[in-house]
């Protein structure tokens, strides 16, 4: 049974290729093997691990208190003694604020996608597997949300709710659910009519066990790959919302919010003011490139 969950089109040894039985690699074994020969993806994976690690360990790695202000040491340049990346408009240490800001910025980038994968993926699998009226209702509802450009929908929801981290989280999750639902639905409905699902059904397997073992196993790879490309979008959007004043409230450190409050300093310390955006760029670029690398390694078409 377990062999059937592997989509035949993803089986790696090419037809005709002679593979000794004992050494046959699994699908995931092949993915790992391809990743090992992709230094770019590995490098940016390391960048992501480092960024997440720094964020988690912020209390221990940040050199200063991110909230300690100093009226005398405002907007110091990069390379100042004691403040290697300078200070912000209230004299707070930039490096420490960037490290603490990684916590909110990464959380707001990753959490909405995780929730949306769960909710959108489930809705899509249900719609794709049940078909008929259920499919119609779910997918047409998604079409309506699809009719909003993502920035507009995010701003509409969190702006109406009055901003804050919770409303931003809700807004971003709602933005990502429709596209994830669509991908899960496409994959699930393609698999629904395949022989092995019919066989499982004919052999009397209950519906929920068919969904769990077969459908989810085949839907998950495309959904996860797409989700990994959404993390970069989510980081950009989340930072954008806090740039507009709709994210966390000051003085909590957040890259988008720092970018916005530092705008008053661009005439004095342009380089320091550009730092939070650079952090956003590096993280979003890393997630994009890793997502591309994973897509290639997992052999999934965009």
């Amino acid at each position: 049974m377990s062999e059937m969950t592997t989509n035949p089109s993803l089986a790696v040894p090419a037809p005709g290729e002679d593979v000794p039985r004992g050494e046959r690699r699994s699908y995931w074994g092949n993915v790992r093997e391809r990743l090992r020969h992709d230094p770019v993806t590995l490098f940016f994976m390391a960048v992501i691990v480092a960024a997440v690690g720094t964020a988690v360990l912020a209390p221990w790695v940040a050199p200063h208190d991110p909230y300690a202000t100093s009226m005398l040491a405002r907007l110091r340049p990069i390379g100042t003694e004691g403040h290697i990346l300078g200070t912000d408009e209230l004299g707070r240490d930039m490096l420490s604020r960037l490290i603490w800001g990684a916590r909110t910025s990464l959380l707001m980038g990753i959490l909405p996608v995780v929730i949306a994968v769960a909710v959108g993926g489930l809705l899509g699998v249900i719609a794709g597997f049940m078909g008929g009226a259920v499919n119609m209702i779910v997918m047409r509802t998604m079409d309506v949300f699809y009719a909003f450009p993502s920035v507009l929908l995010a701003v509409a929801i969190s702006g109406t709710l009055g901003g804050g981290m919770g409303s931003g989280l809700l807004a971003l999750t709602l933005v990502f659910i429709p596209s994830l639902c669509r991908i899960a639905e496409t994959a699930a409905s393609q698999i629904r009519s395949l022989d092995f699902v019919d066989a499982a059904r004919a052999s009397g397997a209950p519906v929920h066990s068919i969904i769990l073992t077969h459908v989810v196993g085949n839907v998950l790879p495309p959904v996860l790959i797409y989700a990994s490309s959404l993390i970069s979008v989510s980081i950009l959007l989340a930072a954008g919302l806090s740039f507009l004043g709709l994210g966390v409230s000051p003085p909590t450190a957040d890259w988008g919010q720092m970018l916005s409050s530092l705008r008053q300093g661009i005439y004095m310390q342009p380089l320091v003011c550009a730092l939070p955006g650079l952090a956003i760029l590096i993280v979003s670029l890393s997630f994009n490139l890793v997502s591309d690398g994973l897509r290639q390694a997992m052999d999934i078409k965009a």
Partner: protein, 318 residues
């Protein structure tokens, strides 16, 4: 084909209705009594009662929606709490300003992306391809609101070549891309806006042209001795429907998502209207702007789909 067109137009109607339902429910999403978000805080009791009747808050929600929809269809989107002017007037004036830079950005991005994408597709794996691919990755990874700030730092603060914000003395009335005095205000916002579509379209042009080049008939064209210039034309013509679709979608995204860039540059478009409405809790203005932007996105999608069918009649979707 005509059947498809008719179907596609009809299909846009339930979508537009769905969009209107979401916009309508925004008032209920706002914290507090919905009436609080519709009136200024210093309104008298009589005013509150009058507005309650006017909006029909004493009736069931479904009736409220249809009343609201009936008014919206005739162009009555309510009155802005701050300016006391009709929401529709505020939005349409700003919409023109947003459209002006969005359309220019899409054209610039389209021209550059066609060149980059085609060059990359003809040189797959070579340095030219690597540069084009990097540009497209950068385009989709860069926080464009930050890029706007960086451009301001360079072109306005350091080199003093272009104005940092605003739209110049005459505002939207006398704006023209062909008069330097006004156009110089629009250059930085337009360039910033062009970044994302540049990345996305370069990528899709590259894959569409590379796809065409791998077809058998291209081999035949080359075997018949056709010059590379003519081969490029063939490849582009076949990639056009796909590029058109991506382009249309990007224009929609730019118009709907202009709030970030317009906030950076203080450009008086729909995004700035929204951001002002959010700051002042002007819910009618926010709701009206979102409705118009979302409906224009639905319309753009419809037009692109129809254009695509005309350009390439083989595209028949269910």
């Amino acid at each position: 084909m005509w059947l498809y067109i008719a179907k596609r137009v009809l299909y846009a109607i339930p979508i537009a209705l769905g969009v209107s339902i979401i916009c309508f429910s925004l008032v209920y999403l706002a914290p507090g009594d919905p009436i609080q978000s519709l009136i200024p805080p210093d309104a008298s009791d009589e005013d509150i009662a009058a507005i309650r009747r006017l909006y029909g808050f004493d009736k069931p929600v479904v009736f409220q929606y249809f009343d609201w929809l009936a008014r919206a269809v005739t162009g009555d989107l309510g009155t802005s709490l701050q300016s006391n002017r009709p929401v529709l007037n505020e939005v349409t004036r700003a919409f023109g300003n947003t459209l002006m830079i969005a359309v220019a950005a899409v054209i610039v991005a389209f021209v550059l992306a066609t060149i980059f994408g085609t060059l990359a597709a003809f040189n797959l794996g070579k340095p030219v391809d690597k540069v084009a691919t990097s540009i497209s990755t950068l385009g989709v990874s860069i926080p464009n609101y930050w890029m706007g700030i960086v451009l301001v730092i360079l072109f306005s603060v350091q080199w003093r070549l272009l104005p940092a914000t605003g739209m110049g003395g005459d505002g939207s009335d006398g704006f023209s891309w062909f008069e330097w005095d006004q156009a110089r205000y629009a250059i930085l916002p337009m360039v910033t806006m062009a970044m994302i579509p540049l990345g996305v379209v370069t990528r899709s042009t590259r894959s569409a042209v590379a796809d065409t080049l791998s077809q058998d008939y291209v081999q035949l064209l080359r075997a018949k001795g056709l010059g590379e210039g003519r081969v490029v034309l063939h490849a582009l013509r076949n990639a056009l429907p796909q590029m058109l679709a991506v382009m249309g979608l990007q224009l929609g995204y730019l118009i709907g998502g202009s709030i970030l860039i317009e906030t950076v540059f203080n450009w008086p478009g729909t995004g700035l209207v929204m951001s002002r409405a959010i700051l002042t809790r002007d819910i009618p203005l926010l709701q009206g702007t979102i409705l118009i932007l979302a409906l224009s996105f639905v319309a753009i999608n419809l037009i692109v789909d129809l254009l695509q069918t005309l350009v390439d009649p083989r595209i028949k979707r269910s």
